[in-house]
């Protein structure tokens, strides 16, 4: 078995402000140019990373500005690996299990207004891993090219 070859990689560091997340989104789009993904698949990759970065700002940093978020993306022969690192409050692994949004209730009152981010990340990505070590949290998301065909 051969080790997948690295074709491209990109890193961007931002501070914890929602408007800054757009820089990470632009980096994901740039990186995805090396994947052969179509426009929808590129959007999905950007969406998953943006959702994860939004969650870091909202939950790990509790909305406080000025904290570091580092994005690293790597394109291999058969997959794209998208990773975010922060030094905020670690995520509870139990919270990483998403449930599908309820859209079949008695009316609009039952519809979810938030907490769709994790569901989207897991729906889009083939692998989602979370780790915390030495005060750094890392979320790693993998999308295989074969799942976009």
């Amino acid at each position: 078995m051969t080790t997948p070859r690295r074709k491209a990689s990109l890193s961007v560091t931002i501070t914890s402000a929602m408007v800054e997340v757009r820089k990470i989104g632009a980096a994901v789009r740039e990186l995805c140019r090396n994947t052969g993904f179509d426009a929808v698949a590129i959007y999905h990759c950007e969406l998953a990373v943006v959702e994860a970065a939004n969650n870091i700002i909202k939950h790990a940093y509790r909305g406080e500005p000025g904290h570091r978020i580092e994005f690293t993306g790597t394109v291999l022969d058969d997959r794209i690996i998208l990773s975010l690192a922060d030094s905020g409050r670690p995520a509870d692994p139990r919270m990483m299990i998403p449930s599908p949004p309820k859209t079949e209730g008695d009316g609009a009152d039952d519809l979810p207004q938030g907490k769709l981010g994790l569901f989207l990340i897991h729906s889009i990505m083939d692998e989602v891993r979370i780790s915390s070590d030495g005060g750094e949290n890392r979320l790693t998301m993998v999308r295989k090219f074969s799942s976009c065909n």
Partner: protein, 119 residues
């Protein structure tokens, strides 16, 4: 300005000018929605033609609008790109929102009562 509006035959037409409906703009969007509700608009078409990216906070903003309109109002969307449509489908919100191909079609499907047209 993130959106421009006009009233046509009792329907508030909202044309979104931002290419991204994300967490950076949804606080402003929430304020606009509150303003439209205060002004008494109950039949609304939102034109997404300019929107190239939307995340779950943008979607949550629309859900909030739908909830606040309640049974006395209607919201329809048009100009939704294939990318944004995929978000509605992933979250199953395509079953909830009225999404139409054109502004005219969206207005027609709202079925505005005549008393609302006269306002």
């Amino acid at each position: 300005m993130i959106a421009t509006t006009e009233k046509v035959d009792g329907v508030l037409i909202v044309v979104l000018n931002e290419d991204r409906l994300d967490a950076a703009v949804t606080p402003l969007m929430d304020l606009l929605i509150e303003q439209w509700l205060r002004e008494g608009h109950r039949y609304v078409v939102m034109d997404f033609s300019a929107v190239d990216f939307m995340d779950s906070t943008g979607l949550g903003c629309l859900v909030m609008f739908l909830k606040k309109l309640g049974d006395g109002g209607k919201l329809a969307l048009c100009g939704v790109s294939v990318k944004i449509m995929s978000l509605f489908k992933l979250t199953r919100m395509d079953r909830i929102f009225q999404i139409h191909g054109s502004r005219e079609e969206a207005v027609a499907h709202l079925g505005v009562p005549s008393q609302a047209v006269e306002r």
